[in-house]
């Protein structure tokens, strides 16, 4: 039984050990974020985390890290994600998060913006940003 639970936890953990990370400014009060809240932020349903107004940034859909993030957190393909935001725009609910062409630019922007939550490639994370654990 314990082995089964361990295997499930391991598999669940593996999905978050993917090639993406969410980063913010080192000065940001955001210490960690739940998967549910992360999904809400990237679908426009949540604008405040840890008392700060957040600004989400996505990577281009062609980036494998972006594809993994969409699948792991939002349960969507890039096409479904685009379709979701077309519908949201028509309903007046807002527009999609700004897309960054590369992790380097996303990290640069996030490092200066306490409210930033930027999806980047895990391998690109450096000391200029805070890697936000996803629980």
């Amino acid at each position: 039984m314990n082995k089964t639970i361990s295997a499930i936890l391991l598999l669940a953990g593996l999905s978050f050990c993917a090639d993406w990370a969410v980063v913010t400014s080192p000065s940001s009060p955001i210490g960690s974020i739940s998967k549910g809240d992360l999904k809400r932020v990237f679908t426009g349903k949540k604008g405040n985390v840890s008392g700060v107004k957040v600004v989400p940034f996505m990577l281009a859909e062609t980036n494998p890290a972006a594809q993994s993030f969409l699948k792991d957190v939002l349960g969507m393909s890039p096409e479904e994600y685009k379709k979701f935001w077309v519908d949201a725009q028509v309903k007046g609910e807002g527009t999609a998060p700004t897309t960054q062409k590369s992790s380097a630019v996303a990290i640069l922007v996030a490092s200066d913006l306490p409210g930033a939550l930027a999806v980047v490639e895990k391998s690109a994370v450096n000391g200029s940003v805070k890697d936000v654990p996803v629980q």
């Binding site: 549910g36 809400r40 349903k45 949540k46 604008g47 405040n48 107004k53 600004v55 349960g75 096409e79 685009k82 379709k83 077309v86 519908d87 725009q89 028509v90 309903k91 007046g92 807002g94 527009t95 700004t98 897309t99 960054q100 630019v105 640069l108 922007v109 200066d112 913006l113 409210g115």
Partner: protein, 435 residues
Amino acid sequence: MKTRPFLRSVILLGVTVAAPGLLAEESNLKLYGFADAQFKKQWYSDNNILRRYNVAEPGGQTYLDHVNLYVDSRPNSSLRFLAEFALNRDPAQSLPAGLRLVYDSAGRSAYIPVFAPELREKDHGISIARAHADLLLADEYNVRFGKFITPAGIWNVDHGSPAILTVRQPYQTNFIPVFPESQTGLQAFGKTQIFEQDLSYSGWLSTGRGNTSAFGASDYGQVPQNWDDWAWGSHLQTDLALPGQVGARIGGTFHTGTLRQRTEWLESKLAAAPDLAELTTTRVDSSYARELCYGLDGKVQWSGFLLQMEWNHRQVRNLMADQSESNINAWYLIVAKTVPVHKNVDVTPYAMYESISWNGAVNNQFLGLDQTPAVGFHAITAGLNFGLFSNVHVKAEYSHQEPEPLNLGSGPIANNYTYADLAIDEFDAQLSVAF
């Protein structure tokens, strides 16, 4: 090391120019919208009552139906301005207030000042579907001011063709709108989470519904004559994430307000000299009623399946005749299944049933329901929606609509209509593009 701040500035500048509004406190203006064109062909008998309300149209028609442009601006993280300009095929056109010459049965004339603009229809025109300012304070509480789409049910908000599965919206959201399509006033809205489930709300205080007829939407609000004329309502909704990737949504809406038509008669009695003419003014309510609107909506989605329904009820109480009631009851159910065909192509077959019925039509004649020899109608629709990429939809659907006849046994307006006499068969095809 000295070059790093410079490089950093150059990249930031480049990013800022390339993506305006990247940073939270920057000005951010976005333009987007949708357009659709439609082909419609109907088959019906000559004595069909729906002809007079433009539900039925002779022959096949191809036309541009909508071009809606959204102007979305976020000057900072706490403010948002959104306006939706709609070029519509049948917009609710308005005329400016003014004087109108009328004659009574004795042939005497009088001018009636028209305080509220009147509805007119013409082939294509521009209306403002919404224009509001949002003060974004927190997830839980925000304030909206201006003209907003009534957050009632599912398909009143999802009013654009890219977000609507079918070609034709349910009649209860546009042809006989149970809730006002849009309102002008103040709205509070927000969302929170309880046990990881989303709960959202909105409440409004508005000028209410401008059009007293049950048929057709109004592009303007009424002019409140007193505090009692102000309308208010609320919508509550919960979005549930259930085990097995099942998403569900349950919502409820309430709205109440008055329906008042007021006219002012200005009568002049000519004297020997024009400057001695006597003017008398009489201000009367030609209709005055209170409406109470209730609605429930629900949606379940799993593995590409969709099950969606709305129930909406409108009760109108005549405040000039012992609160005698008229009731409109409406509901629809739609089932659909989305099947991916290719990376950028999917197809969704769907089927929808809708029923609208009314009673007490003579109690509030301004609604216009008593002028139809029917007590309601129902419609069955089946179709295919092809999704191409993320922003193009090609839809084709067939529907069969049957008014439920009110048979009058005797007198000059006697009729013995049957379902078959009044039925309409309709084919619709639509090309919808979001941009």
